[in-house]
Symmetry: C2
Subunit: 280 residues, 2 copies
């Protein structure tokens, strides 16, 4: 079973008993998505020989945080996107109020899943919860900055900081959780953090580029929506070609970071390659 | 220093470093509020002789969850209330998008504050986080049920279940966290849970009654707003007098629950009395 099947099965199991919110949660979480964050957690943990049964809760938790953020980002008051994963966004299907509450409930559930995993020691769970709560906070703050700079001219460092919070923090956290389960040494852990930071930023710049280049049916959401909303993006600031060069450089650096690890990095190298060549 | 001063100082300290969300968070959290939930946590912990320095994080966490829920509840898509604590609601002051994100960030921050309290063992923190994440989830679910039954005729048991989730879960959690810090025995813990359940429901029925009876300037929000929104409430279902009898009975039961405790319950009795006689 590959990581995607594994996370989908775990999410399906977790999302079965949420009362009046179950339907909207299942609709929004199980409809698809690349599952890149949990795959990252699994791949890091697997690379260091962890028991994957102990990784399921953190993989689910990070994906549930991601899913909640998409539901809230799509709201009319936020990015106002009607389509997500090739289906009506949560608020189009269930109404705005239920979409807000579905996101709120998913955030609580993410932390609950992690806090309740008796397979992990309390110390490991606390370390992971510290990482995930901080990342979830930064993500909200990044989105807040993003909405604050619409139609404004900002420099590339401000954009980078915003991207780091909005997308990078949760990606880095996905890597960190894989490292925390594996109990890897300090040197490996540090190399992984550099790796995480580089792919986190690369991923978001690439998202900006794909938003411009990819047709709606492949993207699963509206094409060129950033520009239409006057959002500052890498392509808008640096141009399309320079943005491509930028994210390819970051992926290269990320692959270099992996070479510093004391273990076989084949799976992480392959994942990085797969990310770099993604089309949506 | 009384508990209200203590929690206000703690919240003031916690809310100082949230980047672009700091201002909206301080505006919404520090503007007032009865602080009943953290006071409950302090009072329970104090009753069992806990060191109050170890109670600050859970007291803050429970109040931050409460504060986030008020911000989201007030949104136009939800209860659409413009006034909260005698000032414009968060979304009126900062816009809907920032209000959503302020709530989202406060939820993450609540769990982070608790997860990061090094004065507490990892085991105690995990027990508390399990309780608080579950309560936060139930609160969102309760609000989801509430919005789903607007203008519908429901029976008193459905209303009770909804109130238990919407308000009771977090109140019970506030008591539970006080008990968890104090490491009180199983018998005391059970009596406290009965106490918590009774005041949780009493508090919400009383809220329904006060919503009808209390003028806006005392309530700090719009009077009679439940009825205007066709929300099912105890007064609507049972009548005003029967609702009063109901919540007074529940407070009486709560005081009886306290008599089963093995410690001096003077502070908890006084708090229950104070709650029962509140005007808003």
């Amino acid at each position: 079973m590959d990581y995607t099947q594994r996370i989908n099965q775990c999410l399906d199991k977790v999302l079965s008993n949420q009362g009046s919110l179950t339907e909207a949660m299942r609709y929004s979480v199980l409809c698809g998505g690349k599952r890149f964050r949990p795959i990252l957690t699994y791949t890091v943990a697997d690379t260091f020989g962890a028991n994957l049964d102990q990784v399921d809760s953190s993989a689910c938790a990070v994906e549930l945080i991601h899913a909640y953020s998409l539901i809230h980002d799509d709201l009319p008051a936020m990015d106002d996107d009607d389509i997500r994963h090739n289906q009506p966004a949560c608020h189009k299907r269930f109404g705005e109020a239920q979409a807000i509450l579905t996101g709120d409930g998913l955030q609580a559930l993410a932390f609950e899943v992690l806090a309740s995993d008796n397979q992990l020691s309390a110390v490991v769970r606390i370390d992971m919860l510290q990482a995930l709560t901080q990342a979830a906070f930064e993500m909200a703050e990044g989105q807040s900055i993003d909405l604050g700079v619409v139609s404004k001219i900002i420099d590339v460092n401000t954009l980078k900081d915003m991207h780091q919070k909005k997308t990078g923090a949760l990606l880095s956290c996905a890597v960190k959780m894989g490292a925390l389960i594996s109990d890897c040494n300090a040197k490996d852990s540090q190399a992984l953090m550099h790796f995480a930071k580089n792919i986190g930023l690369a991923y978001q710049i690439q998202d900006d580029v794909l938003d411009v280049l990819t047709p709606e049916e492949v993207l699963g959401k509206k094409q060129n929506s950033d520009a239409e909303k006057n959002k500052p993006t890498y392509p808008a600031l640096l141009g399309l070609e320079a943005s491509k060069v930028e994210y390819e450089n970051l992926y290269r650096q990320a692959r270099n970071n992996l070479q510093a690890l004391s273990v076989d990095t084949e799976k992480l190298q392959a994942l990085t390659q797969k990310l770099q060549s993604r089309r949506f």
